[in-house]
Symmetry: C2
Subunit: 158 residues, 2 copies
DNA sequence: TTGATATCATTTGCATACGAATGAATTTCC
DNA sequence: GGAAATTCATTCGTATGCAAATGATATCAA
């Protein structure tokens, strides 16, 4: 096969590819959702290796309560991106462990107020240094500059 | 208070800060794990809006079976990042819907082989174009160049 | 004021996700 | 060949995560 024929075939191929970029070609491992799920799994695993007795959602609830003080259960949920059903379970388990206490709102009787106990406050203060390590280890595959770019883009996406 | 005194205080502050960069300052919403969780939630929500009758893990199983053909249940799990317990539930539900069929490995009697049914193959072929839209919409907050960078860094992280 | 809406919380049902324990079958290694 | 280790799959328990339905309370508006 001569040089010109190969070139013609190449050009035809390119034309076809331009029309149908990847008709039969769907690569699961390159899809953002699939990799996002794996990255999240990896982070949860790193978290568990550093903080064995609390899950990331439980930690998030304690950390946010430390920031904002007493809030209603649903309000806390919206601050840490959990719907009402999910946050209830998280708070129930934190209450069972003595990290938070619940009380009724005086005025609005619908609201259930959540607050840290002394034990909960001790726990979150003790765990925050470990959480810093978790963040570092999660980002460890990236250079400092890459990590900064990644965080900016990830925030845009979330 | 004189100029020199202010300067001395500033220097002291800077020294202290250099030792303890952010003792009391832990911002949950800036931690990679927290944002990763939110980004993943957003993607799942976009997925559900486009593909209502299948979850992302179920879709991943079908898409991978389309790629590799018949495999054992555990092997499929490792290809799509699911442990044995999780993949079993996913495959059970796909089987109940007629998308996959199970058979015993002739030689190695421990293995449970999974394969697409004709219906499963039709479904995945039909859904792949929607999955492309899901990827696009998930990445929509980023420019093309940003998306390319993000995917490269995310892959490094996962 | 009261009737429609909206908000807060709970419950149920379903679907990941994973550690740990178990049992069956296979492989490895002495 | 046979004991030990490994692999495949299942089951159980616990913990998110979300949709949908429900009940109680609050707010809005006619």
């Amino acid at each position: 096969m001569g040089w010109a024929e190969v070139s013609a075939e190449d050009n035809l191929l390119k034309l076809v590819e331009a029309e149908e970029p990847d008709e039969n070609d769907y690569r699961l491992q390159e899809q953002v959702g699939f990799i996002l799920r794996k990255a999240h799994q990896r982070h949860v695993s790193i978290f568990a290796a550093h903080i064995a007795d609390l899950t990331p959602p439980q930690f998030a609830a304690l950390a946010k309560l430390r920031d904002v003080g007493e809030t209603s259960q649903n309000q806390l949920g919206s601050l840490i991106a959990m719907d009402a059903a999910t946050v209830k379970g998280v708070i129930d388990r934190l209450k069972a462990r003595g990290f938070v206490e619940l009380s009724k709102h005086e005025v609005d009787k619908r609201r259930l107020l959540v607050n840290l106990t002394a034990e909960g406050r001790d726990a979150i203060e003790r765990l925050i240094p470990l959480a810093r390590e978790i963040t570092q280890e999660t980002l460890a595959p990236l250079s400092a500059k890459e990590a900064a770019i990644f965080m900016k883009l990830l925030a845009k996406l979330a």
